[in-house]
Symmetry: C2
Subunit: 216 residues, 2 copies
DNA sequence: TGAAAACTCAGGTTTTTTCCTGTGCAACAA
DNA sequence: TTGTTGCACAGGAAAAAACCTGAGTTTTCA
């Protein structure tokens, strides 16, 4: 065995600590580490082909989504495991479509990381119980509402709006900044309240923080 | 040398990874790890006396503040280093008073962790440039306003209010829950807006998240 | 190609938030 | 004692947020 792993996280301390931990697993070896998607691509194009890439979602420059998509298109044989702080129910399906093989939260036990890596290396897939649970409720929610799965996603504009809503701007100012009418902003807000099941702008901001839509 | 360290963090993965990393430093050895302050006390009372305790701030049961205070009172010879996600300017002075020897953010480079541990072990103190910078502006802010240092802190009620403000409750509902009049709630809000330099409830919530007043 | 969905915009109303200027009381220090 | 400070509370007003119903235009896709 001795599967090769590339570790991608912009938190250097956590990343290097994880690298040391993973290297202590006899089955795995950390081939290299990176701070963002661009560095991963660079490493891979230089010939460092790993078996598994362990990806953080929130990174500057090129985040987990983009990196997962690039890997799927250019190296479909490389398996991708997501390791994130947030229980991003929004992110899950999008990641599934990007061909991600595993989804883990950062508050797991080290043994679960090891098990997940082994499962992905051998069987090809690993989803934590938490993740599968989320998926279940997510599908259920959409079926109940009679919506298609696509509705569960956030569009780029919605994400942009949410980020702006997590500030001290009024909706009028947000409208100006986004080159939209306040009325349109109203609609984005209302549909997001409905879609994300929140009741106020603060609730929306909290949701955004919890799910890693915004980071600080 | 070979200083003994106890590592305290409720994120098991990060904690164990850090333990592996620190054990790779020839100067240090991880004596034991813990998920909260209570477990640290247990370990120490069982005779595992470390040279340094590396503490996360936000933990269930007994957080970094309480644990640091207990250590200062019961084992003043043990040095305390804080390792946190947040640049808690609120927390800094409080921690200084609790006799904390070092303050680090989790997004540092592993080498800075090593240097910090060495500095604390040898000289007794280490504060990152970020932290000292924060301290400077904090002192400056208070001098400018002609306030005493104490004013920089948040009272228990203020923290309670902030936590409630980071929800979908209206102020009326918060007032009910806190057994205060809506008018009084208004005053807490206004004085916090002024004290923390924010302009809206969303701004307050964002501040709270950034500084670890609330966690998710 | 026709129906469904997404995107943009509108008027009007109610509720909530934010801001303003005040009062009374208790604790505490000069 | 007096003056400062913290704390709880008040009325009123302006701004913002939230909620309602509606409609035209484009995109998507079956």
């Amino acid at each position: 065995m001795h599967k090769q792993i590339i570790l991608v996280d912009d938190h250097v301390l956590l990343r290097d600590a994880l690298a040391t931990l993973i290297n202590s697993f006899p089955e795995f070896n950390v081939l290299s580490v990176a701070s963002n998607g661009i560095d991963v691509i660079k490493a891979i194009e230089e010939g460092n082909i790993p078996d598994i890439v362990v990806l953080d979602l929130n990174m500057p420059k090129m985040d987990g989504f983009e990196t997962a998509a690039w890997l799927k298109n250019n190296h479909p044989d490389i398996k991708v495991v997501i390791l994130t702080m947030y229980d991003s129910e929004i992110a899950l399906i999008r990641l599934l479509q990007a061909g991600v093989r595993g989804f883990l939260k950062k508050d797991i036990h080290p043994m679960e990381l090891k098990n997940a890596l082994i499962a992905v290396a051998e069987n090809g897939y690993y989803y934590s119980h938490q993740a599968t649970g989320k998926l279940g409720t997510l599908f259920k929610k959409n079926n109940d509402a009679g919506n298609s799965i696509e509705r569960a996603f956030l569009t780029d504009i919605e994400i942009d709006f949410i980020k702006n809503a997590c500030s001290e701007m009024t909706y009028k100012e947000i409208a100006l900044k986004m080159s939209l009418t306040p009325r349109t902003i109203d609609n984005y807000r209302d549909s997001l309240f409905d879609k994300l099941n929140v009741k106020s702008r603060v609730g929306l901001a909290i949701y955004a923080v919890k799910n890693g839509v915004v980071t600080f």
